[in-house]
């Protein structure tokens, strides 16, 4: 009897300690949800006149059958979505979602808010059609280089080398793809992008692994190096001879048979160019390789506890070299998207900070390929939304819209991720005793 009581005591005490910590968190999250819902109802819902329709476009030509575009009364839908968000917030604040369901609830809240926002965009202009499919297409297009950059970073950092040089690897890739794509053809341009990215990776590997340079610092220096070197060669060769050295053919769109004709997902996923399909493949390959193969287990071992890995006979440094070079090559491919994948020619600093956003995606995605892809898609969406809003809502100053992806990154990293836990040995050079 007494033993039972004492265990109960312990349990109760444990519970109390736990809840005092979580209650604030629970209320905080719930409060944010509720606030978002109230904003939805007030700022968006009441700003729309009762009669105005919302028209959202999902249809595209050349599909097996067409989808109906959504055509609904704007205000009612916005308010309904807002109410859903508020209810979810109330539930979270009062009862609290469990650890497993909270991410789902957060996703629902985010989606509901975005849907309400798009309804508002459409309805405020008296039912102007908002091309949701186009928005999603752009999101994926803008996310592809981020995905590849972040995957490259995953490869590096899982093996224990911090890669702040994603930007430099992408820039080198973009440059090589444009130059060699012009001379040798776009597909070989892609190969040279991977090689250039890989070489930048090798530079990172040598200085980080062999010379033990502080890896965060090294990454930044390598970014400056890549920026200077590509800019130098651009000015010296490519700009004076644009026609012969800087006019690669943009990779053509390849439609996957059958799949590309499916409504919505066809135009969204299966009418794209080679870089995009390579990205799909690499997402799967990296994810499977990292978590389902011997090589992946070794990579993670080397990134978490190199000494233990060394003890069981894994060659820590060789693993790291290989991973960093492969990671650099993947990031280089991502860079190629900026030249042969979209606009063709190279210009100075064409990656314009996307490597850093890829880095943020990597951290936001907690060093997992899937998480990184999801984060990259989110940032891609933020960029696409900015482009769309600058056309549909010209009253918002474009500069504020341009900030959107970066504000989103800060909110994501600060608000949702907080203190991160990287692979335990990430950034630590391994020196044998």
């Amino acid at each position: 009897m007494t033993t039972l009581a004492s265990t109960e005591d312990v349990v109760v005490e444990h519970d109390v300690v736990d809840t005092t910590r979580t209650v604030a968190r629970r209320l905080g999250t719930g409060g944010v949800f509720i606030a978002l819902g109230v904003v939805t109802i007030w700022a968006l819902g009441t700003a729309v006149r009762a009669g105005h329709k919302t028209a959202l476009k999902f249809d595209a030509p050349n599909t097996y059958f067409s989808v109906h575009n959504i055509d609904v009364p704007g205000r009612a839908v916005i308010i309904a979505l807002g109410v859903v968000v508020v209810l979810l917030g109330l539930w979270q604040a009062l009862r609290g979602f469990s650890k497993g369901t909270l991410p789902i609830a957060t996703a629902v809240v985010g989606l509901a808010f975005m849907a309400a926002f798009l309804c508002w965009v459409s309805a405020r202009a008296q039912g102007t059609q908002v091309d949701v499919l186009g928005l999603m297409q752009n999101s994926i297009g803008l996310a592809v280089p981020l995905i590849l950059g972040a995957l490259g970073g995953v490869m590096c950092e899982r093996s224990g080398v911090i890669n702040v040089a994603i930007e430099g690897q992408m820039l080198a890739g973009a440059w090589a793809a444009a130059l060699f794509g012009t001379v040798l053809g776009s597909v070989l341009g892609l190969v040279s992008a991977a090689v250039a990215g890989g070489l930048m990776g090798l530079l990172l590997a040598v200085f980080a692994i062999r010379y033990l340079v502080n890896q965060v610092v090294l990454g930044v220096v390598l970014n400056v190096f890549a920026l200077g070197l590509t800019g130098f060669f651009y000015d010296a060769f490519m700009q004076p001879n644009t026609a012969s050295l800087n006019t690669p053919k943009v990779l053509g769109e390849i439609d996957v048979p059958v799949l590309s004709h499916l409504p919505v997902i066809g135009p969204l996923l299966f009418q794209a160019n080679l870089v995009v399909y390579l990205a799909y493949v690499l997402i799967i390959v990296v994810d499977v390789a990292l978590f389902r193969t011997r090589w992946g287990l070794r990579t993670r071992a080397v990134g978490e506890h190199p000494k233990a890995a060394d003890t069981v006979g894994i060659n820590v440094l060789a693993m790291r070299y290989r991973n960093v070079v492969i990671g650099g090559a993947i990031a280089g491919l991502g860079g190629a998207y900026f030249t042969v994948g979209s606009v063709g020619g190279f210009s100075k600093n064409i990656t314009s900070g996307n490597g850093f956003i890829a880095l943020a995606a990597l951290i936001f995605g907690r060093w997992s390929p899937r998480g990184a892809v999801a984060a990259a898609l989110l940032f891609g969406f933020a960029q696409a939304l900015q482009v769309m809003l600058s056309i549909t809502v010209p009253s918002i100053p474009s500069n504020f819209l341009q900030m959107l992806p970066y504000v989103a990154t800060i909110v994501a990293v600060a608000g949702l991720v907080g203190k991160v836990r990287a692979p335990a040995a990430d950034g630590e050079p391994y020196v044998k005793d």
Binding site: I162, L222, L229, D235, A236, I363, N399, G418, G427
Partner: protein, 426 residues
């Protein structure tokens, strides 16, 4: 486990820098037992010099490769190799001569026998060095506290916005106005840097990410302001701000024919301040303790989180001062590229200066000279070469083993930089 690992790894790097300057230690006896400080300093200077020479050598190859006439000659290299070498030599010679003439002494302008003719290049070097020194101090100070401030660009922009606004919107008598504008600029940069510190302290968001993002946000904020009446200069056609009052101009140090201005004195003052702060102040001791080992610092009762905010505020204020120098000294109107890449160059300055105030002054002067010379060198080779040189110098300095292996120098202890940026877990 992670933490102890990180500490163990960082400790040997930090020891030499801290130990020599730790206020608790008597200054006469250096606790660093391996080598006398003189030989370490000598070794450091030698490595720095060789890093510079090696970078110039690699740059020379790039110049030769990019030179059209050299490439023309190389097409018949095997029948007449001398042509290739002589043309490459003249291309390299011309470029580096222009670099020297732009940065230090130009015999052509000196032939005019005017002050500007003799001192013009030096003045340009100093003008370029001024913001680099202050920016380098900012990054270096953050390094000492274990933080990596890549947010120089944003902080410089914010500093320029605040200082510029006070400079052209408020009107008052001269001494107050200029002091107020300088303080406003420092406040602007400080708030922007402090924001990153606050985010790290409160949420754990890594400053590398937040400061980069804040750079973009500051950039677009400035772009917006440059399109707004009251900030933009009439007739509102260009993205350029109103000119600041004559009251707030930082006065030229060598007469109006040369651009070097009192911002240089501010930079030197800031260097002295940072030197004092790190070496003698309690705050500096705290910052270094947090930088060396945040866990030990917390155990010792120091507010690690507060120190993040403080150090990022000071670092931001220093970058704000760089912005002040840009808007009240070098320029009089704010444009979209007011930061001129200084935020990123400052990182290389801090690394070259090994995150200590004196080193940063010299590093700033060196890179200032590279920048000043780069603009005259542009006639012969793309200016991006300066960036390549800069990154190579820093790369070699960060990895002295490369230089030692190249030139077969014996290793000295303690020449690795005091600079440290924590990984994601730190």
């Amino acid at each position: 486990m992670t933490d102890s690992g990180a500490v163990a790894d960082d400790a040997p790097q930090e020891v030499p820098g801290t130990a020599v300057e730790a206020p608790a230690d008597p200054p006469v006896v250096p606790p660093d037992s391996g080598s006398s400080p003189r030989s370490t300093v000598g070794g450091t200077i030698l490595v720095t010099l060789l890093a510079f020479v090696t970078a110039l050598a690699i740059g020379a190859i790039l110049i030769a490769v990019s030179d059209q006439s050299t490439r023309d000659a190389s097409s018949y290299f095997f029948s007449y190799p001398w042509d290739t070498f002589s043309r490459a030599g003249s291309a390299i010679g011309n470029a580096y001569k222009a670099l020297f003439e732009g940065a230090i002494y130009n015999p052509h302008t000196a032939a005019n026998h005017t002050a500007a003719g003799y001192l013009g290049p030096i003045s340009e070097t100093l003008v370029n060095a001024t913001p680099l020194i202050v920016g380098g101090l900012s990054v270096g100070l953050a390094f000492r506290a274990g933080l990596f401030n890549i947010g120089g660009q944003g902080q410089i922009i914010m500093g320029a916005i605040f200082a510029g606004y006070v400079g052209f919107h408020w009107h008052m008598s001269a001494p107050f106005h200029v002091i107020l504008a300088i303080l406003a600029g420092m406040l602007g940069g400080g708030l922007w840097g402090g924001l990153a510190g606050l985010l790290k302290a409160r949420t754990g968001a890594h400053e590398v990410i937040t400061t980069i993002m804040l750079n973009y946000i500051a950039f677009f904020t400035l772009a917006y302001l440059l399109s707004v009446r009251g900030f933009q200069a009439p007739p509102y056609g260009q993205a350029i701000s109103n000119p600041v009052d004559g009251n707030v101009h930082l006065w030229p140090l060598l007469g109006s024919s040369m651009r070097v201005h009192a911002g240089l004195l501010l930079a030197l003052g800031a260097s002295a301040f940072v030197w004092w702060l790190l070496k003698y102040s309690t705050l500096g001791f705290k910052l270094r303790a947090v930088g060396a080992n945040p866990f030990a610092a917390r155990t010792a009762g120091m507010g690690v989180e507060n120190s993040y905010v403080t150090v990022m505020f000071i670092a931001g204020a220093l970058c704000g001062l760089a912005g002040v120098s840009q808007i009240l000294g070098t320029n009089t109107q704010i444009t979209g590229d007011i930061d001129a890449g200084i935020g990123f160059d400052a990182i290389t300055v801090a690394l070259l200066g090994r995150a200590n105030a004196v080193g940063i002054v010299f590093a700033g002067l060196l890179f200032g000279a590279l920048h000043a010379g780069g603009s005259t060198m542009q006639a012969y080779t793309p200016i991006d070469l300066v960036q390549v040189l800069q990154s190579l110098i820093v790369l070699f300095i960060a990895a002295p083993a490369v230089i030692r292996a190249l030139y077969r120098i014996k290793a000295t202890t303690g020449s690795s930089g005091a600079a440290l940026a924590k990984g994601w877990n730190g």
